[in-house]
Structures are given as structure tokens and as C-alpha cells.
């Protein structure tokens, strides 16, 4: 990854880097700024046995379950949100044993990612006392070795194979800019082995030099980037577009052909058809 090398590749090539069985930290939260175009492309390419690692997945984890592409999940809270309630295909996948879930609090998942980012085997996490989650997950406590008498849960390191982020803008070299909240994208980008990015558009390298404080991920951490306008559809990408609620509603319909129609009407599919 030498400095200044262009990193922009077509979406299908970006998705091809993700092999069956990979663990994916997916950026965004619920219906907001998720890397949904790449998630759909993984489905089109027939990927299997993937793992989602995300504090608040929704549409992304649901469509991966619906397509039979998911084997495991480490997640905090899972829902479609808005007025759509539970994520139905995810719910069914857990209830029928189609996927294996490791249930987290959002902050315990973050602690595991922090351990990876900080280069240590585990990370303390506040709270958790009195919950049934530690017994379920085998989480252990340590007593403060410096004698405060406090006992704290420690979460084992979580190192995703990939962090996959949907960004507002990137430079040709792969610097990443996000507007609005960064959700958990920053810690994901520091904890994963490899970072892939889908962005709405390219911005000039000069603009990144003008305001480096807006850069969430510097290019040297990023392996490759694809440009997919409206790639976070049917979710939002602030300030470019809001959630497409009718499209989410159409996706929720449990009828034959709905998933394929949904994949076919996605922005990246329509774009590809024009090429």
C-alpha cells in the first residue's frame, strides 16, 4: 500500500476480496450509512458462511440471513428500526439455528474491538454486572490490580477480517471522509485486518489536505475503495439522502421474488446495467 496509489476499483472487485467465511465489521447503524451496496454484491456473488460483527445491525444482517449468506453474528441490538420492528429473517435464522449468535451489549462489542485496535488481548468494559450475558459468553472479571477493590469485566479481543464502511467522500488514494456521526466506524477501521470502503463520490486530494480533521480513516489504513452513488440505499447517507421507507417496506414483504427484485432495483445494479 504505497503512498499515493489509486485504490478505486469496481464494486464487484471490491466484493471479490471477501472470501467465504470472512468476518465483517459493517459500518453505520440500523438504516443509516451502512455499506449496503457491498452487502448486496456479496449476496449476488453467492458468498456463504459470513460473520457480521456490528453493534447495531438491521437491514444488512437481515438480508444476509434472507439470502443464506450468514453463518455467525456478534451483535448488540438487531432491528429494522423505524416502524418496521424486529428484523424478521435474522430472527428466524437465530430461532431455527441457521446462524450462531454471540449476543453482546454494544459497548462490550466495542471493548473487544478496542482490544484489537490497542494491540492487547482483552479490554475492560464498564457495567455488565448482574447480566446473564457473561455466563453465556464466558466473559471473566478481573480485580483492579492497583487495589481500588473494583471488579471489572474484561472482553476478549475481536479482530474482524474486514471493516467495511460506507463513506460520503474518498480521495483517489483512499482517504475517507464522513459527515455527521461516525457511529462505530472509527474503531472498526482500527481493529480489522483489512479495510474496504464504498463511497458516494470522489473528492480532491487537495480538499483532504485543506481539512484533514474531517478525515475519519487515512488512506494508508484502506485497502480499496469503490464509488457507488446512493450505495447506502435503502438507508440514509447524511446529508445526501434520507431513508427510502417505501423501499424498506417493499423489502419486508415475505413473498417469492421479493429479494431478487430488491437486489435488481438497487442503485448499484441499475448502474451496472448501464455499463
Amino acid at each position: 500500500m504505497s503512498l499515493g496509489t489509486p485504490k478505486i476499483v469496481p464494486l464487484r472487485d471490491l466484493a471479490a476480496r471477501v472470501t467465504d467465511g470472512s468476518s465483517l465489521a459493517l459500518g453505520g447503524s440500523f438504516l443509516h450509512r451502512g455499506p449496503f451496496a457491498l452487502v448486496r454484491e456479496l449476496i449476488r456473488q453467492g458468498r456463504r458462511d459470513l460473520e457480521v460483527i456490528k453493534q447495531s445491525p438491521g437491514y444488512d444482517i437481515d438480508i444476509l440471513c434472507r439470502a443464506g449468506a450468514l453463518g455467525r453474528a456478534r451483535a448488540g441490538i438487531v432491528a429494522m428500526e423505524g416502524n418496521f420492528g424486529l428484523a424478521p429473517w435474522y430472527r428466524r435464522a437465530v430461532e431455527t439455528g441457521q446462524i450462531r449468535l454471540e449476543e453482546h451489549a454494544c459497548a462490550s462489542l466495542t471493548a473487544g474491538l478496542r482490544a484489537s485496535a490497542f494491540g492487547v488481548p482483552f479490554m475492560p468494559c464498564g457495567g455488565i454486572h448482574g447480566s446473564d450475558l457473561p455466563a453465556l459468553n464466558g466473559w471473566k472479571t478481573v480485580e483492579d490490580p492497583y487495589g481500588s477493590g473494583e471488579t471489572v469485566y474484561v472482553i476478549p479481543r475481536i479482530t474482524p477480517d474486514f471493516a467495511i464502511i460506507h463513506a460520503n467522500e474518498v480521495s483517489e488514494e483512499g482517504d475517507v471522509r464522513v459527515y455527521g456521526t461516525s457511529h462505530w466506524d472509527r474503531i472498526m477501521s482500527r481493529s480489522a485486518k483489512r479495510v474496504l470502503v464504498v463511497a458516494e463520490r470522489v473528492a480532491s486530494g487537495a480538499s483532504f489536505r485543506d481539512q484533514p480533521e474531517l478525515t475519519l480513516v487515512p488512506h494508508f489504513l484502506v485497502e480499496a475503495v469503490s464509488i457507488v452513488p446512493a450505495g447506502a440505499w435503502p438507508g440514509s447517507c447524511w446529508p445526501h439522502y434520507a431513508v427510502d421507507y417505501p423501499a424498506v417496506g417493499a423489502y419486508m414483504d415475505d413473498a417469492p421474488g421479493v429479494l431478487q427484485a430488491h437486489l435488481d432495483t438497487a442503485p448499484e445494479a441499475r448502474e451496472a446495467a448501464h455499463v
Binding site: 447503524s29 440500523f30 438504516l31 443509516h32 450509512r33 453493534q55 447495531s56 451483535a75 448488540g76 441490538i77 438487531v78 432491528a79 428500526e81 423505524g82 416502524n83 424486529l86 435474522y90 430472527r91 437465530v94 430461532e95 449468535l101 449476543e103 453482546h104 451489549a105 454494544c106 459497548a107 462490550s108 466495542t110 468494559c125 464498564g126 457495567g127 455488565i128 454486572h129 448482574g130 447480566s131 446473564d132 450475558l133 453465556l136 455527521g180 456521526t181 461516525s182 457511529h183 462505530w184 472509527r186 474503531i187 440514509s236 447524511w238 446529508p239 434520507a242 431513508v243 421507507y245
Partner: protein, 243 residues
């Protein structure tokens, strides 16, 4: 007749937990607490800091979004206080009031948001851990809400303890509970219901000393809610019934 609708009862009584000069937080999947925080900003003559899961700090959103994590909740914010920030704020003991969801609540104010039935073979897989396991024990006060008041939501025994530490408050369409000596006690009930009805529809035992019918909405509270939901779209979507 009561001046409350089941919807206004839940939203307004959540707002009444907001106190001056405190930091109050609303999260994902939390349209009713989001409305409560926005209502408190409009209706109450005191300052408090409202932070939310979209990174907003005292935002001035151009519209009230359907999704309580929508980025418009950061419009007008002077900073982005993102997810890691507000979790860390909470675990270090500086979150005054935190609204957290629950599927089941027990008499100690513990919550289940994980599953109905056995965790390993669930009858219903629920959203899961989320903020609760970390925020409920570490926030100074946490408050939850249920849009259904029944023995299957307010239970003697949780199917799974997702979060412990004890809710400071619980609001349902017919009742407001607060914590006293580590247990939830009835603070007030919807004037269209009764103490007997609350007892009959609650799965856990509770004290009710000093409880009384909930005071009606003030004009400021009613006006604020009307301003936030002028077409009653949120009220329709929430579909909360008294019984």
C-alpha cells in the same frame, strides 16, 4: 374523561423524568423517548443537555424523524458526540438520565431484551443486549417504557436477565413506577384506569403507598406534543391503547 391519550400519557410521563441541568440521552429504536426529550425541551422552563444516538447535542432538527437514530437528530448540533463518546460518558458515571428499551421488566427493574423462552432455543429472538447491560448499571438513572402493560411484559421472573442495576422509572399506558429501596413502586396511575387494574395487569408485586392518579398534562406539555406531532402520525404509528 381523562385528558390523556395512551400515547400522550407515555410520552409526557417519560418527559417528566427529565431534570434541570442534567445530561439526558435517547438511543436507537426509541421514538417515544426521543419525543419525550424534544417535548421536555419545548415544555419545561429549565435547561438540560439532550444528547442522542445520532451524535446530536441539543440539536434543532428540521423535522422529527421516524427513526430515533436518524441523522437529522444531529442538525444544529454544535458537536458530534458519537457512540463511543456517550457510552464512555455513561460508564464513567456522568450520564444522568438514560432511556433504555425493554421487552420484559421485573419488580427489581431489571430487563430482558434478549429472548422469549430459553436463550438457546428461543420462542422469540428479540433485538438483544444493546445499551442496557452496560448503561443500566452505570447511568445515574435509567428509565424504560412499555406500550403494553400486561403480565407478559411486567413479570415476576425474566426469561433472561439482559441488564441488571434497576430502572429508576417505568412508564406504561396506565402507570408510572419509580424505584424505592431497590424495588419498583407505583408512583401514579392513568386516571382512566385504577389501582386495581394496575395490580391486575402487573406480573410483579409492588407497593403503592402514596400513589395517586397521574396529574393531567399541563398546557405547555400538551402544546409541545401537538407541535411535535401535528398530524398525529407518531400517535398512529405507536398504536398505543389503554387496554
Amino acid at each position: 374523561m381523562s385528558e390523556w391519550s395512551a400515547f400522550s400519557y407515555v410520552v409526557t410521563n417519560l418527559a417528566r423524568f427529565v431534570r434541570p441541568n442534567e445530561i439526558t440521552f435517547s438511543g436507537v429504536n426509541s421514538a417515544l423517548p426521543m419525543l419525550a426529550c424534544l417535548l421536555a425541551k419545548r415544555a419545561y422552563p429549565f435547561a438540560f443537555t439532550y444528547i442522542n444516538v445520532a451524535g446530536g447535542v441539543d440539536p434543532s432538527p428540521s423535522q422529527v424523524p421516524i427513526s430515533s437514530s436518524d441523522p437529522v437528530l444531529a442538525e444544529g448540533s454544535r458537536s458530534i458526540f458519537a457512540n463511543e463518546d456517550f457510552y464512555d460518558l455513561c460508564t464513567r458515571g456522568q450520564m444522568d438520565l438514560c432511556f433504555l428499551g425493554a421487552a420484559q421488566v421485573d419488580g427489581l427493574g431489571r430487563t430482558n431484551v434478549s429472548c422469549i423462552g430459553d436463550w438457546h432455543a428461543p420462542k422469540v429472538r428479540l433485538p438483544g443486549g444493546g445499551g442496557g447491560a452496560v448503561m443500566l448499571p452505570t447511568a445515574r438513572r435509567a428509565v424504560t417504557w412499555r406500550t403494553e402493560h400486561s403480565r407478559r411484559t411486567l413479570v415476576e421472573t425474566l426469561d433472561f436477565i439482559t441488564a441488571s442495576g434497576g430502572m429508576h422509572g417505568v412508564v406504561t399506558p396506565i402507570a408510572v413506577f419509580t424505584k424505592r429501596d431497590g424495588r419498583l413502586v407505583l408512583a401514579s396511575w392513568h386516571p382512566g384506569a385504577s389501582l386495581d387494574e394496575v395490580r391486575d395487569r402487573t406480573g410483579f408485586r409492588f407497593e403503592a403507598d402514596g400513589a395517586e392518579p397521574t396529574p393531567p398534562p399541563t398546557p405547555a406539555e400538551a402544546e409541545a406534543l401537538t407541535a411535535l406531532d401535528p398530524d398525529a402520525g407518531f400517535e398512529r404509528d405507536a398504536a398505543i391503547r389503554l387496554r
